[in-house]
Symmetry: C2
Subunit: 308 residues, 2 copies
């Protein structure tokens, strides 16, 4: 058990967030974060309670959220920590979802990069995932026809019946291109991409003039090796030119100074009953490595969280 | 020989422009134009002189440019025709290049989509081609470090020594990724893409934060079949997210109402000696089909034109 020095605090982790992007942190290739080195504590966003503090800005007992890592206790000087309010109406786990990075990712990705307009058709991949499910619901709030792509009938029912998506496509049971073609009779104006690969190819073949492709994640390739061969579905890349489309990547980290704007809207929509979410809680830090795989085989149901 | 009816004119074609995009017009897949049907006159931009006119807006002897097709004579009602000035200081063929669609493609693609800033690094593929050679020179005018990729030593010397590119890479003689890495020590901020495939992959691996990828053409895939397998160089697609980059397609046809703006700048820069071009003229309409292939094997030297 480490002991805090002057200016430091000891946080007892309670919940750990598991997110697809973590997979990219353990590649050798540098990304927006440097790769986690072998032997280092795995990087991860966690919520904890301050057990010991030698830093006046962080009293003992305060709830905090930050990159506290896959560990029971974290020693930190408080840099980058977010102090969570003690608001009993909001469950702590929501700060990993709707009221955290995940909600902001959906919010800024869809609205700032996708720029959806009422009446347009929005397609969301990994639509039952933490980010996709919120992006699709925001699309409905903005007046879009929203088609979600997910990997099981249960997920499809959830996003259609509970979240209000217009249609859901089970990519494991249906031919995606044909189903998209059927359910997007006016083509696709905005695509919120969490998957990549064959799903992105199918979407590109149906985009409208001036379509916007929000490149949020590419979970289908995070486990692929650089040299893996695959289909280069050529005419679909050409569609970006023919349709004068825009494909743009973004990282929510660039939007931190606009967090208040997102939180205001997300809280209001949640209070109005327009946004729903669900969490999938795995018990015990020792189960985190196996649990991370649930994001890649699609067996999680909602925002994946480890109860430390 | 057709005879014009009331309102029509008969144009005697003089020059025919050959452009890579023509290859996409003879695919079965619909593009920004409908496919040319078997048995139809091949679509093509031509310059001709009006030999007979029954349309008061177009006097006989007028020089015009338009989609007059691969034929000696075209019958038209004048829709879409551009009347060319009789200015002896500008050779007719320049209206296919610098002072035509090609010049505007380079101008709006680079400036409107690429938004280069002084001091940034610009990479241009097919840099000795009609569009690429102008895009690179505009990049120099705007103060960029400009690296061109071309397919022969002769082309590389031309763009370096005559056009003022900072460096040229011969993709047939050098490993493109290594050479780009060497010649772009500060990374790549803007990429003007005319080629696609492996060259685009190499560029993506070196892009900077907030890079802009101008998708102008993908000549490497115009002759490919839909099912052709190829390397899915996965981490490079991911670069668009990691670097918050934007890849955007455009068509010069959308900029026709801003033609005057481009022409003013292009004429001024040309008069100041800041823009150069060259033409590659093939004699005889009967040689047009074989000549079109020169764009794909890279044997043309400059804007490819058929003297009808």
């Amino acid at each position: 058990m480490p002991t805090p020095r002057e200016g430091e605090l000891l946080v007892h982790n309670v919940y750990l967030s598991l997110d697809p992007t973590m997979r990219t942190w353990i590649n050798e290739l540098p990304s927006y974060f440097s790769p986690v080195a072998i032997g280092e504590v795995m990087r991860g966003s966690a919520i904890g309670v301050i057990e010991q503090s030698r830093n006046a800005k962080f009293p003992e007992g305060t709830l905090v959220l930050g990159l506290l890592g896959w560990q029971d206790y974290a020693l930190t000087d408080g840099t980058g920590l977010r102090v969570l309010p003690k608001d009993p109406s909001i469950p702590l786990t929501a700060y990993f979802g709707l009221f955290g990075i995940v909600g902001m990712t959906a919010y800024f990705g869809l609205l700032d990069i996708g720029k959806p307009r009422a009446g347009e058709t929005l397609v969301v991949s990994a639509a039952a995932g933490a980010v996709g499910s919120i992006a699709g619901q925001i699309g409905k709030i903005k007046g879009c026809r929203v088609v979600g792509i997910a990997g099981s009938d249960e997920k499809c029912h959830w996003i259609e019946d509970e979240l209000g998506f217009d249609t859901a496509i089970n990519y494991r049971a249906e031919p995606v291109l044909e189903s998209l073609n059927k359910h997007c009779p006016d083509g696709i104006d905005v695509h919120f991409e969490n998957v990549g690969g064959a799903i992105l190819d199918a979407v590109l073949s149906l985009i409208n003039l001036h379509a916007r492709i929000v490149l949020c994640g590419l979970i289908s390739i995070y486990n692929a090796s650089e040299s893996e061969p695959g289909p280069y579905n050529l005419p679909h890349i050409m569609q970006i030119i023919i349709k004068r489309a825009r494909a743009e990547g973004f990282l929510v980290l660039d939007y931190m100074d606009r967090a208040r704007e997102a939180m205001q809207d997300l809280r209001q929509w949640y209070a109005q009953g327009k946004l729903r979410y669900r969490v999938d809680i795995v018990d015990g830090l020792q189960n985190a490595p196996r649990a991370l795989n649930k994001l890649f085989d699609g067996s999680n149901k909602g925002k994946l969280i480890v109860k430390v």
